[in-house]
Symmetry: C2
Subunit: 318 residues, 2 copies
């Protein structure tokens, strides 16, 4: 057997790949060269997770790698009907982003509850203005998305005394089904988007949805940008349908300096960084190396993506 | 027995006092009139907790009330040698501020870990600038002050995966004594001031102390302003001895618009509001009414202040 070829989509070299020296050959591709190199690859490592090149190149002619790993939680950028129909196994960065994102969400929720953005604004004006803040304990959150990230958000908020409802595609055990979402959202103080992007979730946070919420509610999206209809959110904030919102993900990233979203009152914008704690790239590199060793030994890969549904089914998550 | 007289220091009427109609007479005093009215009072309710009038008026001539209740956690503003030497019982607002302050501290810690102030600054400039943030889980905090507030801060941070050391005056069970503070602070990511103001704690956070900390450390004071030598903190931040700080309490409150503290880089200033969640005044009024009913029935008051030490000893806290 020849030494397997790992094709890396991306120009930055991933850390830790050197550990596979002698056990794998490594080549790099970008969006322009991917299609030509794909037929030679045994494994595709999607390191540039902002690229749509896989979805574009996959349907082309020639042999395809048997395993694709993406260094992201979401797999929406790479899935296409041809990949979904193929025997190729797809894995994602499960385990790397859950806790950082949950901490980030807890930070946003507390920042809103304690009116921290206004405190910073008043400080710029040297203005001493006492306000009453909100108690977090006893408030209600709805987390949309019942995967590992949604569940970690639930765990941290629960530890802060928040009553959390988790909403997935279908009801099971302690998870609500999508049919419960409207009712739960209507009574929530915090609505948190952490769902995968699929044809069912695209645009789910729209004017209709924001119209369900309490005027005191806050909306936070750390899932995928296209879950939110950004213009509808901006309008809901301008009309005071809801009290505030935070987006870490957007329809188009990076957000253009000219985008009107930057100036929407009550909207906090961060540059898709909720999961990226110091050392995240090292952890992603380590994870791939560890999966590669299993793959090379012919062992099954844990937590593979259901390419029909577009995410790792939670029944497959220990 | 004549109906007891409650003297309220403050001009805003406390909510819930109406429940004592027929069971107490209520009069109001301010800093100017307190000394003259004190000899007639059976109970003194310190409702304006920003006033130093009790400490000033108490040593004067005449009879003194047998019970003083302050609608604050700290008792430093009212204690004087004459009150400490008297048989008068002093109670504070134990139970009202602990959880709100702990939530506020958790919010500040997460805001620093996730670089939220900079995110808001970049948003004002429409600047998309990804950064790596800090993981909160596994980081180390030192909470200075082992009373109910310090312990509630420990509980919430512990729930977020932070390794927390609690430092009190003397070591006991799971609490470190003051002699351990320097060593613990030198290894901490988060140093949180939640101690009572006494002659031992005044100015304890000074240049010497900030010089002990790691350059990556953050300092937060939610205790009393005079715990911190503000000029020393400003200098430590300017010299990058520490990475950031948040003050909710100050030597002089409100902070003057001309105070240089407003502009110190890396310093987050809030207007003494960490404990004040919506409905706090109602809870303070209810607490006093409930204590009054015990007092009027001749029952002992729970959690009275040790007027020699200047706080409620934790051995008296269930």
């Amino acid at each position: 057997m020849t030494t397997p070829l790992i094709l890396v989509l991306g120009t930055d070299p991933p850390p830790r790949l050197g550990r596979l020296t002698g056990r794998a050959r490594v080549r790099y591709a970008d969006g322009r060269t991917l299609a030509g190199q794909l037929p030679d690859a045994d494994v595709l490592l999607v390191w540039d997770v902002t690229s749509d090149a896989v979805r574009e190149a996959w349907p082309g002619p020639g042999r395809r790698p048997g395993w694709v790993h993406t260094a992201s939680a979401g797999v929406d950028r790479l899935l296409c009907p041809e990949l979904a129909a193929s025997p190729t196994v797809v894995t994602n960065a499960r385990g790397v982003f859950e806790l950082p994102i949950a901490e980030y969400v807890a930070g946003l929720v507390l920042a809103f509850a304690k009116d921290l953005p206004r405190t910073l604004e008043y400080q710029r004006h040297h203005r001493w203005q006492h306000r009453e803040t909100r108690a977090l304990a006893g408030s209600r959150a709805v987390v949309v998305g019942a995967g590992p990230i949604g569940r970690e958000i639930m765990r941290l908020l629960h530890g802060l005394g928040v009553r959390v409802a988790l909403v997935g595609r279908t009801a099971r055990r302690t998870i609500h089904g999508a049919g419960d979402l409207d009712r739960l959202a209507a009574g929530a103080d915090w609505v948190i988007g952490a769902a995968p992007l699929t044809e069912e979730t695209r645009g789910m946070f729209d004017a209709r949805f924001f119209g369900l919420l309490q005027p005191s509610a806050h909306f936070i999206n750390v899932g995928r940008g296209p879950l939110t209809v950004e213009d509808d959110l901006a309008e809901a904030l301008r009309r005071h349908w809801i009290a505030g919102a935070a987006l870490d993900v957007f329809q188009e990233e990076p957000l253009s300096p000219a985008d009107p979203l930057w100036e929407v009152p009550g909207l906090l914008i961060s540059p898709h960084m909720s999961g990226d704690t110091a050392g995240w790239r090292d952890r992603l590199g380590e994870q791939f190396v560890s999966l590669y060793e299993r793959w090379a030994a012919g062992e099954p890969l844990p937590g593979t993506v259901d390419v029909q549904r577009g995410y790792v089914p939670s029944t497959d998550i220990p």
